[in-house]
Symmetry: D2
Subunit: 336 residues, 4 copies
Amino acid sequence: MSTLGIAVIGAGRMGADHARRIGRTAGGARVVAVADPDAGRAKEVAAGLDGAYALTDPAAAVAAPGVGAVLIASPAAAHEEAVGYALERGLPVLCEKPLAPDAAGALRVVEAEQRLGRRLVQVGFMRRHDAEYGLLKELLDAGGIGRPLFLHCRHRNASSPPFFTADMLLGDSAVHEVDAARWLLGQEVTAVSVFAPAPSSLAPEGLGDPRFVLMETSGGALVDVEVFVNCGFGYEVRCEAVGESGSASLGEPQAVEVRRAGLRAQAVPQDFTVRFADAYDRQLRRWVAAAARGGVAGPDAWDGYAAAAVCEAAVASARSGVRTAVELVERPPLYR
Amino acid sequence: MSTLGIAVIGAGRMGADHARRIGRTAGGARVVAVADPDAGRAKEVAAGLDGAYALTDPAAAVAAPGVGAVLIASPAAAHEEAVGYALERGLPVLCEKPLAPDAAGALRVVEAEQRLGRRLVQVGFMRRHDAEYGLLKELLDAGGIGRPLFLHCRHRNASSPPFFTADMLLGDSAVHEVDAARWLLGQEVTAVSVFAPAPSSLAPEGLGDPRFVLMETSGGALVDVEVFVNCGFGYEVRCEAVGESGSASLGEPQAVEVRRAGLRAQAVPQDFTVRFADAYDRQLRRWVAAAARGGVAGPDAWDGYAAAAVCEAAVASARSGVRTAVELVERPPLYR
Amino acid sequence: MSTLGIAVIGAGRMGADHARRIGRTAGGARVVAVADPDAGRAKEVAAGLDGAYALTDPAAAVAAPGVGAVLIASPAAAHEEAVGYALERGLPVLCEKPLAPDAAGALRVVEAEQRLGRRLVQVGFMRRHDAEYGLLKELLDAGGIGRPLFLHCRHRNASSPPFFTADMLLGDSAVHEVDAARWLLGQEVTAVSVFAPAPSSLAPEGLGDPRFVLMETSGGALVDVEVFVNCGFGYEVRCEAVGESGSASLGEPQAVEVRRAGLRAQAVPQDFTVRFADAYDRQLRRWVAAAARGGVAGPDAWDGYAAAAVCEAAVASARSGVRTAVELVERPPLYR
Amino acid sequence: MSTLGIAVIGAGRMGADHARRIGRTAGGARVVAVADPDAGRAKEVAAGLDGAYALTDPAAAVAAPGVGAVLIASPAAAHEEAVGYALERGLPVLCEKPLAPDAAGALRVVEAEQRLGRRLVQVGFMRRHDAEYGLLKELLDAGGIGRPLFLHCRHRNASSPPFFTADMLLGDSAVHEVDAARWLLGQEVTAVSVFAPAPSSLAPEGLGDPRFVLMETSGGALVDVEVFVNCGFGYEVRCEAVGESGSASLGEPQAVEVRRAGLRAQAVPQDFTVRFADAYDRQLRRWVAAAARGGVAGPDAWDGYAAAAVCEAAVASARSGVRTAVELVERPPLYR
C-alpha cells in the first residue's frame, strides 16, 4: 500500500482542519499540495505538513506531482471549477458541502461525471460517517422500527457567524438534515414547507432565526426540522425516527455527568467540530481508502444535487410562505 | 371542614375511576350519588362506596340530598345537559374533557356561566396538574428559557380503542396538547395546519393515524404535535419548549433501569392512567378544595371552548389539506 | 366504610407533616387528637384539622373518644412508651423509624406483640411504599435479574441538621438502607464493616461524614452504602441491584430537563420530603386501609428490631474499625 | 516529519489489533516488523501491512532496519525480555498491560530505566486516553467537585475467556481500576481489602466471580470496585467520583435509544474493543507522536510497577480474607 498524495484546495478553517486531520488520523495518506488565493494562509497550513507545496492556483495544485486525490474546502462558489480540474485528471474528490451554490451548478457536476462514466466525487456530508447515524441507518434498513413515518430533527448552533444569511439557514444548516433524511429513508424529498415563529430577539436582525422546515418524501414520510442557529446554549443535533412499530433517537452525546450546586448536569458541546470530530475522522479514512481504489465512500454528486434542489425549494417556500414542490431531473443510471 | 358530597355523572371507565379515586385519595370528599343510564353499572360503582345512591337520571343525582359538587364523566354528548343541571343549582363542576362535542356547545356553557356571573365549571385537562407540566409552566413564567418559540409535542398511545375515529385523533387526543399549549404559553391558537404521512399499516384502516398538527399562536410561537394512537410500544407524552435562551423537556417517566441481555432498558407506561395517575389525584384534590369554597382550580369553561374551537379548525384542516384560521368570540371579562 | 379516627403522637416536623397528609390525601381517615409535650405546638397542628383535640399527654390522646389507630412521630426515646399505650388498647400503630433508640427497646415491642398474639405495629420505613422500590422488589422477586449478588446504595443529604451525630449517620440515615436491603433481598444482615475516607472538610467537625458501610447477608449478597449527609448538592437516594443475569437501578427522579448556558441539566431534589412525597402518601393510605381492618401493611416490629440490631453492629464497627457480626434473637413464629 | 517504523511484538488478538490500527488511524507511523513465536500468525498479520517483515524472534524484530519504536503485545510473561531489547537500543516502547506478571518483574524494568536515566516505556492502560476519563481527570484536577472522597467503580464483562483465573480477575481486570484510580486521584493505593458475595452460578466454577475490591489511598480516599467478568449482559465500565462538593460519573456510552415493544432501550457494548475503540486510537496517536520525539505520553514503568504491587496485595487479601497493606519501594526521582 503506497501513500495517497492529496491536494487540499482552500486553506480556511475547514481546509486547515482537514489537512491537519489527514496527517494525524488517516494512515496511508499525506498532503502534498495546499492551494489558496491567500498565499500566506496556504503557506501556513503547508508549513505544518512535512514537504507539502503551498500554491495559489487550484489547477496547479491538482496537477502537482504525486497528487492522487483532491480535497476541496474552498468557498462554495469555487467548488465547481476545482471539481472540474480533478475530473479532467480522473482524480477522486472529497468536496465540502454544498457541492455548488445552486442546483444548476451541482447538476453540471453530475453531467460531467456521466460523461466520464464514473463516480469520482464525494460530498462532505459528514453525518453519514457518525457512529450514531450509522446505527440508526442500520436499524431502519433492518426494519427495526417498521416503515418510517416521521423524522423529527433539531439542528442548533450556539450562535451564527457574522456573515450568515437567512438563505444559509436553509442552504448551509438545514442541508445536513436534507441529506441525512434522504439517506436514512432512501427516499427523495418531494415538497417543502417552511414555517417561522416570531424571530428570536437574540439572533441578528433580519436573519429570521429560527425556522421550522417540513419535508414530504417520496415514500410518504414527514420530516420536520427545527433550525435554530442562535439558540445560545450550544451545538445540538438530534433526530428521532418514528416507524410503524417503534421509534429511535440519536443525539445525546456521551458526557460526564456532574452533580453540583443543586443540579445534575452534562456539558453541551459548543461546536460541530467537537460533536462530529469522530465523523470527520471516519469520513476521511473511508474516503482515503476508497480514493486509493479510485472510488467514493459516501454521498455522491447526485446527493449533492438533490440536496441543493431541496434547499432551493425551501428558500422559495420561506419567501412565498407556501408549500413548494421539489423538481429533480430523472436520476441517471450511474447513480442508481 | 365538613365533607363535600359529590354526584358522579357517568359510571363508565372514567366515572368509575374518578369515584374510586375520591374515596381513596381525596380527603374531605365523598361520593353521595352515581348516575348512569345503565342502572347496573351505576349500582356496581355505588356499591364500592359506602352509602352512595345509584340512579339513572343525572338531574336526580345532581338534586340528591347532600350533593355539593358534580363530577361529569358521561359521554361528551351528555356533558352540556349535565353541566346545566349543576349550574341551575349553583354547584361546582368538574367536567371530563371535552366540555362539549363542538365549540358551539362549549360556548353555550360559557354563556350560561356569564349569565350566572360566576365560574363554576372546571374541565378535566389533567395535565395541568402533572408535576412535570407544573415545573415547565413555572420555568416558562419565570422567563427561565426566554420568550417561547416552539413547543414540540409527542402524544402516543400503544393502540386506539375500537370506536376511535379520525376526528377523535384531533378532538380527543390532540386536544390535550391544545390545552397544554394555550396554558403553558398563555396564548391563544390562531391557525392550524394538519399534515399526515402515509398512514401506518398497523393502525385501523381509515383512521389516518398518525397525524402531524402545526399550530400558530397569538404570541408568535409554533406548536407541533405528533399524534400517533397506534404507535405500538406504549403511552408516551413528551413536550419540549424552546425559548430564546434555552429549552426545557418533559416526559421521561421515572423508572427502574434494567441491564439485561445486551440492553439497558426502562419500561414505557402502557396507559395514560399510569402515566398521569398522580395528575388525576392532584386534579381531584385541588378541585375538591376549590369546590368546597365554591370555585374552580384549573382550566375553566373558556378553556374548554377555546380548545374545542381549535380542534374544529384542525378537523377542517385535516379535511381540506390547508392551513385553517381559528375564530374565537371575544373573551368575556369573566374569564380574563 | 366509616372514617378511621387517628391520634397523632408528636407535633414536630414529622408529626405535623403526617397530620396534614391524613386530611389531604388519605380518604377514610381523620385526625381526632394531637399530643405533644409542647401544648402550643399541639394546638397549632390541631387547629388546621377540623375538630381535632390538642393534648400534652400521649396516653390521653390514645384513649380519646373516636381514636381507632395511632400514628407515632415523637422523638425515638418516646416511641416505646406510646406504642405500649396503643397495644394496651389493641390499636394499630404506625411508628416513625426507629422503632426504639436501641435494639433492646425494639425487642421489647416485639415481645409485647407476641404476648398479644397479633401484629399491630408498622414502622415508618417509607421507601417500601415508593413506586420505584416497589418495581425493584417485584423484579427481584420474579427472578428478573437472577439471584442478587450486590446492592450498591447511595444515601446523600445536602446538609445535616445541627443536632446530627456520628451514630445518627448510621442509626438514622443508613438504617433506611438496612431495611431496604433486608426487604429487597428477603434476607437478614449477618455482619457489618464500616469504612471511612478522610472526613469532608465541609461537614461538621467530628461527624465523620461520609461513611461507607458494607453489609453481608444470610443469602450471600454484599450490600455497600455510601452515607454522606453533607454532600452539598442535594438529596439523593440510589440503589443498584446486581444479580447473576442482570442489574437494576433506581433513583433518577423524574424531572424537567433544561438546556441553558452550555449545560443540559435537571434539578436534584433538596429534601427527602420532596423525593419521597408519594411514598409517604402511599404509606399512609395503605396503613389506613390495613388499620381499618386491624392490621399492618408494611415493615413490622420485627423489621424495626432487626434494623436496630444491624445499626448497633455498624456503630460498633465504626468505633472498632473491624467487621462486626450481627446477633439476632430467633425470629418468632408471629413474624414468619 | 518522517514516518516512524514500529516493531510489533506478539501477533495475537491485541497485537493484530494494534498493527491494523497503526496503518489505519495513526498518521506518521507504519509497522515494519511483526514478531511472534507462531510464524504463521506473524505472517498473517504482516501480510495486511505493506512491506512489513514477519519474524519469530522478538530481538530480531526490535533490531530490524527502520525500527524506531516497539509495541509489545505478547503474553505478560514475555514483556520484560522484549522491553529489555528495546531499552538496549534506546527505543521507545508501548507495552500492553501488565508491564510484567509480578511487581518484582515490573520493578526490574523501573530499575533498568533508572540506569538509562530516561523514561522510554509506556504501559497500555488505554483508559487514560478515553475522552470521558480525560474530562473526569480535568474536572478533578480543577477542583470541580472538591477533594475526592470516593471512587465507585464497576467493571463488567459479558463473559470471561476459558483461560481466566481468580487471580486474573484482579491482575488483569481490576488492574485497570487500580491504574485509573491512581491517575485520577494522583495518589498511591496504600491498602486493599477484597470481599466476595457467594459466587455467581453462571460463572465458571472456582473463578470466584464477582469480587468487590476496596482500596484506601494515600490521600484518604476510598475506592470500591465491583469486578464481575460474567455479568451476562455486556461490557460496562463506570466510575463515579464523589468529592466534598459534588460528584461526577462516567460510563453511559452514546447510543441510539430505541422505543419498541414496551421498552425504551439502548444497546450495551459487548466488548472492550467497542467501548474503548477511540481510546485505543488516541493512545496510539499520542504514543506515536511522543515516541517520534523519544519519549512517552501516558502511564510509565512506575505506574506499571505500582499497579502490579496493588494487584499482588489484592490477590493476597482475596486469599487471606483480611485487609492487606501495599508496600512500594521509594519512588525514584525519574518518575516524580
